[in-house]
Amino acid sequence: MRALRNLSRRKVRTALTILGITIGIWALVVFSSMANKINSLVEGGSEYYADKVIVTDASDASGMLGAPLAASVADEVSAVDGVALAVPQVSLVFDPTTTGMTMGSSESIVGGPPVDEQYEQFDLSYAQGRGLNASDEGSSVVVLGSDLARKLGAAAGDRIDVRGREFEVVGVLAPTLTAPDTTAYVPLAIGQQLYAEELPAVVADQLGTDVVSQIVVYPASDEDPVVVAERIEASVDNVATLTGAEFDEQVGSSVSILNAIIVGVAAISLVVGGLSVINTMAMSVQERTREIGIKRAIGGSRGRVVRELVLEAGLIGLIGGLIGLALGALVISVANEAGRNSGTVLFELTLGTAAFALAFSTILGMLAGVIPAWSAARLDPVQALRYE
Protein backbone atom coordinates (compact mmCIF):
# COMPACT_ATOMS: atom_id res chain seq x y z
CA MET A 1 0.00 0.00 0.00
CA ARG A 2 2.75 2.38 0.96
CA ALA A 3 4.65 1.51 -2.21
CA LEU A 4 1.55 2.28 -4.28
CA ARG A 5 1.12 5.59 -2.51
CA ASN A 6 4.74 6.52 -3.11
CA LEU A 7 4.24 5.86 -6.80
CA SER A 8 1.15 8.01 -6.96
CA ARG A 9 3.08 10.89 -5.41
CA ARG A 10 5.77 10.75 -8.01
CA LYS A 11 3.37 10.87 -10.88
CA VAL A 12 5.43 12.13 -13.79
CA ARG A 13 8.46 10.02 -13.01
CA THR A 14 6.36 6.96 -12.37
CA ALA A 15 4.33 7.51 -15.51
CA LEU A 16 7.46 7.78 -17.64
CA THR A 17 8.97 4.68 -16.11
CA ILE A 18 5.76 2.77 -16.62
CA LEU A 19 5.59 3.99 -20.20
CA GLY A 20 9.07 2.67 -20.91
CA ILE A 21 8.17 -0.71 -19.49
CA THR A 22 4.81 -0.70 -21.25
CA ILE A 23 6.42 -0.31 -24.65
CA GLY A 24 8.82 -3.15 -24.03
CA ILE A 25 6.14 -5.49 -22.76
CA TRP A 26 3.80 -4.49 -25.55
CA ALA A 27 6.39 -5.50 -28.14
CA LEU A 28 7.04 -8.71 -26.26
CA VAL A 29 3.34 -9.63 -26.16
CA VAL A 30 2.69 -8.85 -29.83
CA PHE A 31 5.67 -10.71 -31.21
CA SER A 32 5.31 -13.67 -28.88
CA SER A 33 1.69 -13.95 -29.97
CA MET A 34 2.79 -14.03 -33.58
CA ALA A 35 5.23 -16.81 -32.80
CA ASN A 36 2.48 -18.63 -30.91
CA LYS A 37 0.17 -18.50 -33.89
CA ILE A 38 2.73 -20.00 -36.21
CA ASN A 39 3.57 -22.68 -33.71
CA SER A 40 -0.02 -23.64 -33.17
CA LEU A 41 -0.67 -23.86 -36.92
CA VAL A 42 2.19 -26.25 -37.32
CA GLU A 43 1.36 -28.15 -34.18
CA GLY A 44 -2.33 -28.37 -35.06
CA GLY A 45 -1.48 -29.85 -38.45
CA SER A 46 1.01 -32.10 -36.86
CA GLU A 47 -1.56 -33.29 -34.36
CA TYR A 48 -4.16 -33.82 -37.05
CA TYR A 49 -1.86 -35.90 -39.19
CA ALA A 50 -0.34 -37.84 -36.32
CA ASP A 51 -1.39 -41.50 -36.24
CA LYS A 52 -2.98 -41.18 -39.68
CA VAL A 53 -1.98 -42.04 -43.18
CA ILE A 54 -3.28 -39.88 -46.01
CA VAL A 55 -3.50 -41.74 -49.29
CA THR A 56 -3.51 -39.74 -52.52
CA ASP A 57 -2.98 -40.35 -56.17
CA ALA A 58 0.66 -41.06 -56.84
CA SER A 59 0.93 -38.10 -59.18
CA ASP A 60 0.26 -35.81 -56.28
CA ALA A 61 3.43 -35.50 -54.32
CA SER A 62 2.28 -32.89 -51.85
CA GLY A 63 -0.47 -34.96 -50.33
CA MET A 64 -2.69 -31.90 -50.24
CA LEU A 65 -5.15 -30.96 -52.95
CA GLY A 66 -4.39 -32.93 -56.02
CA ALA A 67 -5.34 -35.39 -58.69
CA PRO A 68 -8.50 -37.37 -58.05
CA LEU A 69 -8.70 -40.96 -56.91
CA ALA A 70 -11.53 -43.32 -57.66
CA ALA A 71 -13.61 -43.74 -54.52
CA SER A 72 -13.28 -47.48 -54.91
CA VAL A 73 -9.61 -47.21 -53.97
CA ALA A 74 -10.88 -46.81 -50.40
CA ASP A 75 -12.05 -50.44 -50.47
CA GLU A 76 -8.66 -51.60 -51.71
CA VAL A 77 -6.95 -49.66 -48.96
CA SER A 78 -9.33 -51.03 -46.33
CA ALA A 79 -8.21 -54.51 -47.24
CA VAL A 80 -4.55 -53.78 -46.44
CA ASP A 81 -3.26 -55.43 -43.29
CA GLY A 82 -3.17 -53.04 -40.33
CA VAL A 83 -5.76 -50.60 -41.65
CA ALA A 84 -8.59 -50.13 -39.15
CA LEU A 85 -10.61 -47.68 -41.23
CA ALA A 86 -10.20 -46.03 -44.60
CA VAL A 87 -12.38 -42.98 -45.20
CA PRO A 88 -12.74 -41.38 -48.63
CA GLN A 89 -12.58 -37.62 -48.51
CA VAL A 90 -12.70 -34.72 -50.89
CA SER A 91 -11.10 -31.43 -50.16
CA LEU A 92 -11.29 -28.33 -52.27
CA VAL A 93 -10.84 -24.63 -51.81
CA PHE A 94 -13.85 -22.94 -50.33
CA ASP A 95 -14.10 -20.18 -52.87
CA PRO A 96 -12.37 -20.84 -56.21
CA THR A 97 -12.45 -17.16 -57.04
CA THR A 98 -9.92 -16.34 -54.35
CA THR A 99 -6.33 -16.79 -55.27
CA GLY A 100 -2.98 -16.14 -53.78
CA MET A 101 -1.31 -16.97 -50.55
CA THR A 102 -2.93 -16.66 -47.21
CA MET A 103 -1.21 -16.76 -43.91
CA GLY A 104 -1.93 -19.97 -42.09
CA SER A 105 -4.46 -22.36 -43.50
CA SER A 106 -6.57 -21.60 -46.52
CA GLU A 107 -10.33 -21.84 -46.49
CA SER A 108 -11.45 -25.20 -47.73
CA ILE A 109 -14.35 -27.56 -48.08
CA VAL A 110 -13.89 -31.08 -46.80
CA GLY A 111 -16.44 -33.70 -47.75
CA GLY A 112 -16.49 -37.10 -46.14
CA PRO A 113 -18.46 -39.50 -44.01
CA PRO A 114 -18.49 -38.89 -40.27
CA VAL A 115 -15.66 -40.67 -38.50
CA ASP A 116 -16.29 -42.44 -35.26
CA GLU A 117 -14.52 -40.91 -32.25
CA GLN A 118 -12.76 -44.15 -31.56
CA TYR A 119 -10.65 -43.52 -34.65
CA GLU A 120 -10.31 -39.78 -34.76
CA GLN A 121 -7.94 -38.49 -32.09
CA PHE A 122 -8.21 -34.84 -33.08
CA ASP A 123 -10.84 -33.39 -30.82
CA LEU A 124 -13.49 -31.17 -32.34
CA SER A 125 -16.09 -29.51 -30.20
CA TYR A 126 -19.09 -27.55 -31.31
CA ALA A 127 -19.84 -23.97 -30.40
CA GLN A 128 -23.31 -24.27 -31.92
CA GLY A 129 -25.43 -27.04 -33.32
CA ARG A 130 -24.04 -30.48 -34.02
CA GLY A 131 -21.57 -32.40 -36.12
CA LEU A 132 -22.36 -34.27 -39.32
CA ASN A 133 -23.79 -37.74 -38.91
CA ALA A 134 -24.64 -40.66 -41.17
CA SER A 135 -28.21 -39.47 -41.78
CA ASP A 136 -26.89 -36.24 -43.34
CA GLU A 137 -25.52 -38.18 -46.27
CA GLY A 138 -27.09 -36.91 -49.46
CA SER A 139 -28.39 -33.66 -48.00
CA SER A 140 -26.92 -30.17 -48.39
CA VAL A 141 -25.79 -29.46 -44.87
CA VAL A 142 -22.56 -27.97 -43.63
CA VAL A 143 -20.60 -27.60 -40.41
CA LEU A 144 -18.48 -24.44 -40.40
CA GLY A 145 -15.15 -23.79 -38.72
CA SER A 146 -15.17 -20.88 -36.30
CA ASP A 147 -13.30 -18.36 -38.46
CA LEU A 148 -15.31 -19.25 -41.54
CA ALA A 149 -18.60 -18.93 -39.66
CA ARG A 150 -17.56 -15.55 -38.39
CA LYS A 151 -16.49 -14.39 -41.81
CA LEU A 152 -19.75 -15.52 -43.38
CA GLY A 153 -21.74 -14.21 -40.47
CA ALA A 154 -23.46 -17.57 -40.28
CA ALA A 155 -24.83 -19.40 -37.26
CA ALA A 156 -26.37 -22.83 -36.84
CA GLY A 157 -29.73 -22.90 -38.60
CA ASP A 158 -28.76 -20.31 -41.22
CA ARG A 159 -28.69 -21.02 -44.90
CA ILE A 160 -25.58 -20.12 -46.83
CA ASP A 161 -24.51 -20.19 -50.41
CA VAL A 162 -21.48 -22.31 -51.31
CA ARG A 163 -20.41 -22.40 -54.91
CA GLY A 164 -23.90 -21.58 -56.08
CA ARG A 165 -25.62 -24.18 -53.93
CA GLU A 166 -27.65 -23.60 -50.84
CA PHE A 167 -26.49 -25.32 -47.66
CA GLU A 168 -28.02 -25.45 -44.23
CA VAL A 169 -25.57 -24.74 -41.42
CA VAL A 170 -26.14 -27.45 -38.83
CA GLY A 171 -23.19 -26.71 -36.61
CA VAL A 172 -20.30 -24.34 -35.91
CA LEU A 173 -17.03 -25.60 -34.48
CA ALA A 174 -15.34 -24.15 -31.48
CA PRO A 175 -11.99 -22.52 -32.37
CA THR A 176 -9.10 -24.94 -32.76
CA LEU A 177 -6.53 -22.32 -33.83
CA THR A 178 -5.59 -24.49 -36.78
CA ALA A 179 -7.00 -25.87 -40.06
CA PRO A 180 -10.58 -26.73 -38.96
CA ASP A 181 -11.22 -23.05 -38.16
CA THR A 182 -11.25 -22.26 -41.87
CA THR A 183 -12.90 -25.45 -43.06
CA ALA A 184 -16.47 -26.19 -44.12
CA TYR A 185 -17.40 -29.82 -43.54
CA VAL A 186 -20.01 -31.35 -45.83
CA PRO A 187 -21.28 -34.91 -46.37
CA LEU A 188 -19.31 -37.00 -48.86
CA ALA A 189 -21.80 -37.14 -51.73
CA ILE A 190 -22.37 -33.40 -51.98
CA GLY A 191 -18.65 -32.85 -51.58
CA GLN A 192 -18.02 -35.23 -54.46
CA GLN A 193 -20.48 -33.32 -56.62
CA LEU A 194 -18.69 -30.06 -55.94
CA TYR A 195 -15.39 -31.77 -56.55
CA ALA A 196 -16.46 -33.33 -59.83
CA GLU A 197 -17.71 -30.00 -61.14
CA GLU A 198 -14.26 -28.66 -60.72
CA LEU A 199 -12.47 -31.45 -62.59
CA PRO A 200 -11.49 -30.97 -66.18
CA ALA A 201 -13.95 -32.74 -68.46
CA VAL A 202 -11.38 -35.22 -69.70
CA VAL A 203 -10.60 -36.43 -66.19
CA ALA A 204 -14.27 -36.59 -65.28
CA ASP A 205 -15.00 -38.71 -68.33
CA GLN A 206 -12.27 -41.12 -67.44
CA LEU A 207 -13.00 -41.57 -63.73
CA GLY A 208 -16.69 -40.79 -63.50
CA THR A 209 -18.03 -38.72 -60.67
CA ASP A 210 -17.32 -41.19 -57.93
CA VAL A 211 -13.96 -39.62 -57.19
CA VAL A 212 -12.29 -38.35 -54.04
CA SER A 213 -9.19 -36.35 -53.43
CA GLN A 214 -7.73 -38.46 -50.70
CA ILE A 215 -8.34 -41.37 -48.43
CA VAL A 216 -7.76 -40.92 -44.75
CA VAL A 217 -6.46 -44.11 -43.20
CA TYR A 218 -6.68 -44.87 -39.51
CA PRO A 219 -4.20 -47.65 -38.74
CA ALA A 220 -5.04 -50.24 -36.10
CA SER A 221 -3.96 -49.02 -32.70
CA ASP A 222 -1.03 -51.46 -32.42
CA GLU A 223 0.33 -50.59 -35.85
CA ASP A 224 3.03 -48.13 -36.75
CA PRO A 225 1.53 -45.68 -39.29
CA VAL A 226 4.79 -45.62 -41.22
CA VAL A 227 4.71 -49.41 -41.65
CA VAL A 228 1.05 -49.31 -42.66
CA ALA A 229 1.81 -46.60 -45.20
CA GLU A 230 4.55 -48.75 -46.73
CA ARG A 231 2.16 -51.68 -47.01
CA ILE A 232 -0.48 -49.51 -48.69
CA GLU A 233 2.00 -48.23 -51.24
CA ALA A 234 3.16 -51.77 -51.90
CA SER A 235 -0.28 -53.34 -52.35
CA VAL A 236 -2.36 -50.58 -53.95
CA ASP A 237 -1.38 -49.30 -57.39
CA ASN A 238 -0.68 -45.68 -58.11
CA VAL A 239 -1.05 -44.19 -54.68
CA ALA A 240 1.19 -42.07 -52.51
CA THR A 241 0.98 -41.83 -48.74
CA LEU A 242 1.65 -39.13 -46.24
CA THR A 243 2.20 -39.93 -42.58
CA GLY A 244 2.33 -37.60 -39.61
CA ALA A 245 6.11 -37.87 -39.54
CA GLU A 246 6.32 -36.87 -43.20
CA PHE A 247 3.93 -34.00 -42.62
CA ASP A 248 6.13 -32.71 -39.85
CA GLU A 249 9.12 -32.98 -42.13
CA GLN A 250 7.51 -31.29 -45.14
CA VAL A 251 5.53 -28.58 -43.46
CA GLY A 252 8.03 -28.27 -40.68
CA SER A 253 10.81 -27.40 -43.09
CA SER A 254 8.74 -24.91 -45.04
CA VAL A 255 7.57 -23.21 -41.87
CA SER A 256 10.85 -23.45 -40.06
CA ILE A 257 12.41 -20.46 -41.82
CA LEU A 258 9.40 -18.31 -41.10
CA ASN A 259 9.34 -19.66 -37.60
CA ALA A 260 13.01 -18.87 -37.13
CA ILE A 261 12.32 -15.30 -38.17
CA ILE A 262 9.44 -15.01 -35.75
CA VAL A 263 11.39 -16.57 -32.92
CA GLY A 264 14.17 -14.15 -33.76
CA VAL A 265 11.75 -11.25 -33.60
CA ALA A 266 10.38 -12.54 -30.29
CA ALA A 267 13.91 -12.81 -28.96
CA ILE A 268 14.66 -9.26 -30.06
CA SER A 269 11.46 -8.04 -28.46
CA LEU A 270 12.52 -9.82 -25.28
CA VAL A 271 15.85 -8.02 -25.35
CA VAL A 272 14.31 -4.67 -26.29
CA GLY A 273 11.56 -5.06 -23.70
CA GLY A 274 14.08 -6.24 -21.13
CA LEU A 275 16.51 -3.41 -21.76
CA SER A 276 13.77 -0.84 -21.67
CA VAL A 277 12.61 -2.18 -18.31
CA ILE A 278 16.16 -2.29 -16.97
CA ASN A 279 17.05 1.14 -18.29
CA THR A 280 14.01 3.04 -17.05
CA MET A 281 14.07 1.29 -13.72
CA ALA A 282 17.78 1.76 -13.15
CA MET A 283 17.48 5.45 -14.00
CA SER A 284 14.54 6.03 -11.73
CA VAL A 285 16.17 4.29 -8.80
CA GLN A 286 19.46 6.05 -9.35
CA GLU A 287 17.67 9.37 -9.18
CA ARG A 288 16.72 8.45 -5.66
CA THR A 289 20.24 7.96 -4.38
CA ARG A 290 19.84 11.02 -2.17
CA GLU A 291 16.63 9.67 -0.69
CA ILE A 292 18.46 6.45 0.06
CA GLY A 293 21.15 8.54 1.77
CA ILE A 294 18.51 10.26 3.92
CA LYS A 295 16.97 6.99 4.95
CA ARG A 296 20.34 5.45 5.71
CA ALA A 297 21.40 8.48 7.75
CA ILE A 298 18.33 8.41 9.97
CA GLY A 299 18.81 4.74 10.68
CA GLY A 300 17.29 2.71 7.83
CA SER A 301 19.30 -0.46 7.35
CA ARG A 302 20.62 -1.29 3.88
CA GLY A 303 18.32 -4.26 3.57
CA ARG A 304 15.26 -2.32 4.55
CA VAL A 305 15.96 0.69 2.34
CA VAL A 306 16.66 -1.56 -0.64
CA ARG A 307 13.55 -3.61 0.07
CA GLU A 308 11.35 -0.51 0.03
CA LEU A 309 12.67 0.50 -3.37
CA VAL A 310 12.60 -2.96 -4.87
CA LEU A 311 8.99 -3.36 -3.85
CA GLU A 312 8.18 -0.14 -5.68
CA ALA A 313 10.21 -1.29 -8.67
CA GLY A 314 8.30 -4.56 -8.78
CA LEU A 315 5.02 -2.70 -8.58
CA ILE A 316 6.05 -0.38 -11.42
CA GLY A 317 7.09 -3.44 -13.42
CA LEU A 318 3.76 -5.10 -12.76
CA ILE A 319 1.74 -2.01 -13.69
CA GLY A 320 3.83 -1.45 -16.84
CA GLY A 321 3.42 -5.14 -17.65
CA LEU A 322 -0.35 -5.01 -17.20
CA ILE A 323 -0.71 -1.95 -19.42
CA GLY A 324 1.66 -3.40 -22.02
CA LEU A 325 -0.27 -6.64 -21.97
CA ALA A 326 -3.60 -4.83 -22.31
CA LEU A 327 -2.35 -2.71 -25.21
CA GLY A 328 -0.80 -5.77 -26.83
CA ALA A 329 -4.06 -7.69 -26.47
CA LEU A 330 -5.95 -4.76 -27.95
CA VAL A 331 -3.65 -4.50 -30.97
CA ILE A 332 -3.78 -8.25 -31.46
CA SER A 333 -7.54 -8.47 -31.36
CA VAL A 334 -7.93 -5.50 -33.71
CA ALA A 335 -5.36 -6.93 -36.14
CA ASN A 336 -6.92 -10.40 -35.98
CA GLU A 337 -10.39 -8.99 -36.50
CA ALA A 338 -9.19 -6.98 -39.49
CA GLY A 339 -7.27 -9.94 -40.87
CA ARG A 340 -9.94 -12.55 -40.35
CA ASN A 341 -11.82 -11.67 -43.52
CA SER A 342 -8.78 -12.24 -45.65
CA GLY A 343 -7.85 -15.34 -43.71
CA THR A 344 -4.86 -13.61 -42.19
CA VAL A 345 -5.11 -14.28 -38.50
CA LEU A 346 -1.60 -13.46 -37.42
CA PHE A 347 -1.62 -13.53 -33.65
CA GLU A 348 -2.49 -15.84 -30.86
CA LEU A 349 -2.22 -14.52 -27.32
CA THR A 350 -2.03 -17.43 -24.92
CA LEU A 351 -2.43 -17.43 -21.17
CA GLY A 352 1.18 -18.58 -20.96
CA THR A 353 2.40 -15.59 -22.95
CA ALA A 354 0.34 -13.21 -20.81
CA ALA A 355 1.62 -14.72 -17.58
CA PHE A 356 5.16 -14.70 -18.87
CA ALA A 357 4.93 -11.04 -19.87
CA LEU A 358 3.68 -10.04 -16.42
CA ALA A 359 6.21 -12.15 -14.55
CA PHE A 360 8.95 -10.91 -16.87
CA SER A 361 8.24 -7.22 -16.29
CA THR A 362 7.70 -7.61 -12.55
CA ILE A 363 10.77 -9.72 -11.87
CA LEU A 364 12.98 -7.84 -14.29
CA GLY A 365 11.73 -4.57 -12.80
CA MET A 366 12.75 -5.75 -9.36
CA LEU A 367 16.10 -7.06 -10.55
CA ALA A 368 16.76 -3.84 -12.44
CA GLY A 369 15.82 -1.87 -9.33
CA VAL A 370 17.82 -3.93 -6.89
CA ILE A 371 21.22 -3.24 -8.46
CA PRO A 372 21.21 0.59 -8.37
CA ALA A 373 19.33 0.52 -5.04
CA TRP A 374 21.93 -1.73 -3.53
CA SER A 375 24.84 0.27 -4.87
CA ALA A 376 23.28 3.46 -3.51
CA ALA A 377 22.65 1.80 -0.15
CA ARG A 378 26.26 0.64 -0.04
CA LEU A 379 27.54 4.18 -0.39
CA ASP A 380 28.30 5.79 2.86
CA PRO A 381 25.26 7.89 3.73
CA VAL A 382 27.14 11.18 3.49
CA GLN A 383 28.13 10.43 -0.10
CA ALA A 384 24.60 9.40 -0.99
CA LEU A 385 23.29 12.64 0.52
CA ARG A 386 25.57 14.66 -1.74
CA TYR A 387 24.13 13.01 -4.86
CA GLU A 388 22.28 15.45 -7.05
Partner: protein, 247 residues
Protein backbone atom coordinates in the same frame (compact mmCIF):
# COMPACT_ATOMS: atom_id res chain seq x y z
CA UNK B 1 31.92 9.79 32.19
CA UNK B 2 31.30 11.83 29.08
CA UNK B 3 28.28 10.96 26.96
CA UNK B 4 30.49 11.03 23.93
CA UNK B 5 34.20 10.45 23.98
CA UNK B 6 36.46 10.63 20.95
CA UNK B 7 40.22 10.12 20.77
CA UNK B 8 42.65 10.15 17.87
CA UNK B 9 39.94 10.80 15.33
CA UNK B 10 41.45 11.08 11.86
CA UNK B 11 40.02 11.07 8.39
CA UNK B 12 41.86 11.24 5.09
CA UNK B 13 39.91 11.45 1.83
CA UNK B 14 41.42 10.00 -1.28
CA UNK B 15 40.32 12.44 -3.98
CA UNK B 16 42.39 10.86 -6.73
CA UNK B 17 45.36 8.53 -6.84
CA UNK B 18 47.83 11.23 -5.86
CA UNK B 19 45.60 13.76 -4.24
CA UNK B 20 44.53 13.15 -0.66
CA UNK B 21 43.02 15.53 1.83
CA UNK B 22 43.60 15.14 5.52
CA UNK B 23 40.28 16.42 6.79
CA UNK B 24 40.87 15.40 10.40
CA UNK B 25 44.36 15.14 11.78
CA UNK B 26 43.73 13.70 15.22
CA UNK B 27 40.89 15.11 17.26
CA UNK B 28 40.14 14.41 20.90
CA UNK B 29 36.69 15.47 22.05
CA UNK B 30 34.37 14.92 25.00
CA UNK B 31 30.73 15.94 25.07
CA UNK B 32 28.85 15.77 28.35
CA UNK B 33 25.22 14.82 28.58
CA UNK B 34 22.99 17.90 28.51
CA UNK B 35 25.52 20.13 26.79
CA UNK B 36 24.74 22.28 23.80
CA UNK B 37 27.95 22.53 21.81
CA UNK B 38 28.81 24.39 18.61
CA UNK B 39 31.60 23.30 16.35
CA UNK B 40 32.77 26.31 14.38
CA UNK B 41 35.52 26.96 11.92
CA UNK B 42 36.22 28.03 8.37
CA UNK B 43 35.26 25.87 5.38
CA UNK B 44 37.57 22.90 5.06
CA UNK B 45 38.51 22.98 8.72
CA UNK B 46 37.12 19.46 9.21
CA UNK B 47 34.09 20.36 11.28
CA UNK B 48 31.59 18.50 9.07
CA UNK B 49 33.85 15.49 8.89
CA UNK B 50 34.08 15.46 12.67
CA UNK B 51 30.30 15.59 12.94
CA UNK B 52 29.93 12.75 10.45
CA UNK B 53 32.33 10.60 12.43
CA UNK B 54 30.66 11.41 15.76
CA UNK B 55 27.31 10.66 14.12
CA UNK B 56 28.54 7.28 12.88
CA UNK B 57 27.98 8.30 9.28
CA UNK B 58 31.68 7.89 8.60
CA UNK B 59 34.16 5.56 10.20
CA UNK B 60 37.41 7.17 11.43
CA UNK B 61 40.66 6.05 9.80
CA UNK B 62 42.24 3.12 11.57
CA UNK B 63 45.81 3.58 10.46
CA UNK B 64 48.12 5.32 12.90
CA UNK B 65 47.09 5.66 16.52
CA UNK B 66 44.02 3.54 17.30
CA UNK B 67 40.92 5.77 17.33
CA UNK B 68 38.44 5.58 20.13
CA UNK B 69 34.81 6.57 19.93
CA UNK B 70 32.48 5.85 22.80
CA UNK B 71 28.88 6.75 23.39
CA UNK B 72 27.76 6.20 26.97
CA UNK B 73 30.94 4.21 27.46
CA UNK B 74 30.16 1.84 24.59
CA UNK B 75 32.83 1.44 21.94
CA UNK B 76 31.62 2.37 18.45
CA UNK B 77 34.74 1.75 16.40
CA UNK B 78 34.30 -2.01 16.19
CA UNK B 79 30.66 -1.97 15.13
CA UNK B 80 29.46 -3.40 11.84
CA UNK B 81 27.52 -1.22 9.43
CA UNK B 82 24.29 -2.80 10.61
CA UNK B 83 25.10 -2.06 14.25
CA UNK B 84 26.10 1.53 13.49
CA UNK B 85 22.85 1.98 11.56
CA UNK B 86 20.99 0.72 14.59
CA UNK B 87 22.77 3.22 16.86
CA UNK B 88 21.96 6.03 14.42
CA UNK B 89 18.32 4.99 14.46
CA UNK B 90 17.87 4.68 18.20
CA UNK B 91 20.40 6.95 19.87
CA UNK B 92 20.98 9.80 17.46
CA UNK B 93 19.04 12.46 15.67
CA UNK B 94 20.23 14.40 12.65
CA UNK B 95 19.30 17.83 11.37
CA UNK B 96 20.85 18.84 8.06
CA UNK B 97 21.31 22.18 6.36
CA UNK B 98 19.13 21.14 3.41
CA UNK B 99 16.48 19.49 5.64
CA UNK B 100 16.77 16.13 3.85
CA UNK B 101 13.15 15.13 4.09
CA UNK B 102 11.84 12.38 1.84
CA UNK B 103 9.93 14.36 -0.80
CA UNK B 104 7.16 11.83 -1.39
CA UNK B 105 6.25 11.52 2.29
CA UNK B 106 4.12 13.92 4.30
CA UNK B 107 5.53 15.60 7.38
CA UNK B 108 4.07 13.02 9.72
CA UNK B 109 5.27 10.16 7.51
CA UNK B 110 8.77 11.58 7.42
CA UNK B 111 8.87 11.74 11.19
CA UNK B 112 7.24 8.34 11.59
CA UNK B 113 9.84 6.80 9.28
CA UNK B 114 12.55 7.48 11.86
CA UNK B 115 10.40 5.76 14.48
CA UNK B 116 9.88 2.74 12.26
CA UNK B 117 13.60 2.46 11.56
CA UNK B 118 14.13 2.44 15.32
CA UNK B 119 11.82 -0.56 15.58
CA UNK B 120 8.58 1.09 16.66
CA UNK B 121 5.39 -0.32 15.14
CA UNK B 122 3.94 1.70 12.26
CA UNK B 123 0.95 2.69 14.35
CA UNK B 124 2.95 3.83 17.37
CA UNK B 125 5.46 5.57 15.12
CA UNK B 126 2.67 7.60 13.59
CA UNK B 127 1.24 8.53 16.96
CA UNK B 128 4.65 9.58 18.26
CA UNK B 129 5.32 11.48 15.05
CA UNK B 130 2.19 13.58 15.54
CA UNK B 131 3.31 14.26 19.08
CA UNK B 132 6.78 15.32 17.92
CA UNK B 133 5.28 17.62 15.30
CA UNK B 134 3.36 19.20 18.16
CA UNK B 135 6.63 19.98 19.93
CA UNK B 136 7.80 21.98 16.92
CA UNK B 137 4.41 23.64 16.44
CA UNK B 138 3.53 21.86 13.20
CA UNK B 139 0.67 19.65 14.31
CA UNK B 140 -1.62 21.41 11.86
CA UNK B 141 0.70 20.93 8.91
CA UNK B 142 1.44 17.28 9.53
CA UNK B 143 -0.24 16.00 6.38
CA UNK B 144 1.60 18.34 4.05
CA UNK B 145 4.47 17.22 1.91
CA UNK B 146 7.85 18.99 2.06
CA UNK B 147 7.18 20.85 -1.18
CA UNK B 148 4.11 22.40 0.43
CA UNK B 149 6.07 23.65 3.45
CA UNK B 150 8.35 26.67 3.86
CA UNK B 151 12.05 26.18 4.56
CA UNK B 152 11.57 26.97 8.23
CA UNK B 153 8.70 24.51 8.45
CA UNK B 154 10.70 21.83 6.71
CA UNK B 155 13.53 22.29 9.15
CA UNK B 156 11.08 22.01 12.03
CA UNK B 157 9.83 18.73 10.56
CA UNK B 158 13.45 17.58 10.42
CA UNK B 159 13.88 18.56 14.07
CA UNK B 160 10.75 16.61 15.01
CA UNK B 161 12.17 13.66 13.11
CA UNK B 162 15.51 13.94 14.91
CA UNK B 163 13.79 14.00 18.32
CA UNK B 164 11.06 11.42 17.85
CA UNK B 165 13.13 8.55 19.22
CA UNK B 166 14.40 10.57 22.21
CA UNK B 167 18.02 10.35 21.06
CA UNK B 168 20.97 10.68 23.39
CA UNK B 169 22.61 13.04 20.96
CA UNK B 170 21.19 15.43 18.39
CA UNK B 171 23.63 16.41 15.67
CA UNK B 172 23.05 19.43 13.48
CA UNK B 173 24.99 20.22 10.33
CA UNK B 174 24.43 23.94 9.67
CA UNK B 175 20.81 23.63 10.82
CA UNK B 176 20.14 27.32 10.17
CA UNK B 177 22.29 27.56 7.05
CA UNK B 178 19.42 27.71 4.55
CA UNK B 179 17.11 29.92 6.57
CA UNK B 180 16.62 33.67 6.67
CA UNK B 181 17.48 35.36 9.93
CA UNK B 182 13.95 35.31 11.33
CA UNK B 183 13.42 31.59 10.67
CA UNK B 184 16.95 30.94 11.77
CA UNK B 185 16.28 32.57 15.12
CA UNK B 186 13.08 30.57 15.53
CA UNK B 187 14.78 27.26 14.82
CA UNK B 188 17.67 28.09 17.11
CA UNK B 189 15.30 29.04 19.91
CA UNK B 190 13.53 25.77 19.46
CA UNK B 191 16.75 23.78 19.70
CA UNK B 192 17.81 25.77 22.73
CA UNK B 193 14.44 25.06 24.30
CA UNK B 194 14.83 21.33 23.89
CA UNK B 195 18.24 21.57 25.49
CA UNK B 196 16.94 23.56 28.43
CA UNK B 197 13.67 21.82 29.02
CA UNK B 198 14.61 18.23 28.38
CA UNK B 199 18.34 18.23 28.78
CA UNK B 200 18.73 17.26 25.14
CA UNK B 201 22.41 17.04 24.24
CA UNK B 202 23.11 18.97 21.05
CA UNK B 203 26.14 19.20 18.83
CA UNK B 204 25.82 21.79 16.08
CA UNK B 205 28.25 22.40 13.27
CA UNK B 206 27.82 26.00 12.20
CA UNK B 207 29.15 29.10 10.55
CA UNK B 208 26.49 31.20 12.15
CA UNK B 209 27.74 33.33 15.06
CA UNK B 210 24.20 33.52 16.38
CA UNK B 211 24.15 29.74 16.77
CA UNK B 212 27.53 29.78 18.42
CA UNK B 213 26.31 32.45 20.79
CA UNK B 214 23.35 30.32 21.85
CA UNK B 215 25.56 27.37 22.80
CA UNK B 216 27.17 26.52 26.12
CA UNK B 217 30.46 25.78 24.50
CA UNK B 218 32.19 26.47 21.21
CA UNK B 219 34.75 24.11 19.77
CA UNK B 220 36.78 25.92 17.11
CA UNK B 221 38.43 23.92 14.39
CA UNK B 222 41.20 24.81 12.00
CA UNK B 223 43.04 22.60 9.51
CA UNK B 224 41.66 19.36 10.88
CA UNK B 225 42.47 19.91 14.54
CA UNK B 226 40.74 21.57 17.45
CA UNK B 227 42.10 25.08 17.78
CA UNK B 228 40.04 26.21 20.72
CA UNK B 229 37.37 25.09 23.14
CA UNK B 230 35.57 27.96 24.88
CA UNK B 231 32.44 28.52 26.80
CA UNK B 232 29.90 30.41 24.69
CA UNK B 233 29.28 34.07 25.08
CA UNK B 234 26.39 33.40 27.41
CA UNK B 235 28.54 31.30 29.72
CA UNK B 236 27.09 28.26 31.38
CA UNK B 237 23.75 29.09 29.88
CA UNK B 238 21.74 30.69 32.64
CA UNK B 239 20.63 33.48 30.32
CA UNK B 240 18.37 32.77 27.41
CA UNK B 241 19.75 33.43 23.96
CA UNK B 242 18.17 36.31 22.13
CA UNK B 243 15.73 34.14 20.18
CA UNK B 244 14.51 32.11 23.10
CA UNK B 245 12.83 34.99 24.78
CA UNK B 246 10.73 35.51 21.69
CA UNK B 247 9.76 31.84 21.38
Amino acid sequence: MALLEGRNLRKTYQLSRRNTVEALRGVDIDIEAGEMVAIMGPSGSGKSTLMHILGLLHAPDRNGAEPRLRIDGRDMTQLSDRERTRVRATEMGFVFQSYNLVPTLTAVENVALAGEYAGVSARDARRKAREALGWVGLDRRSDHRPSELSGGEQQRVAIARSLVNAPKLLLGDEPTGNLDSKRSTEVLAMLRGFNRERGQTLLLVTHDPEVGAACDRIIRMRDGVIAGDDPGTIGAGDQPASGVAAA
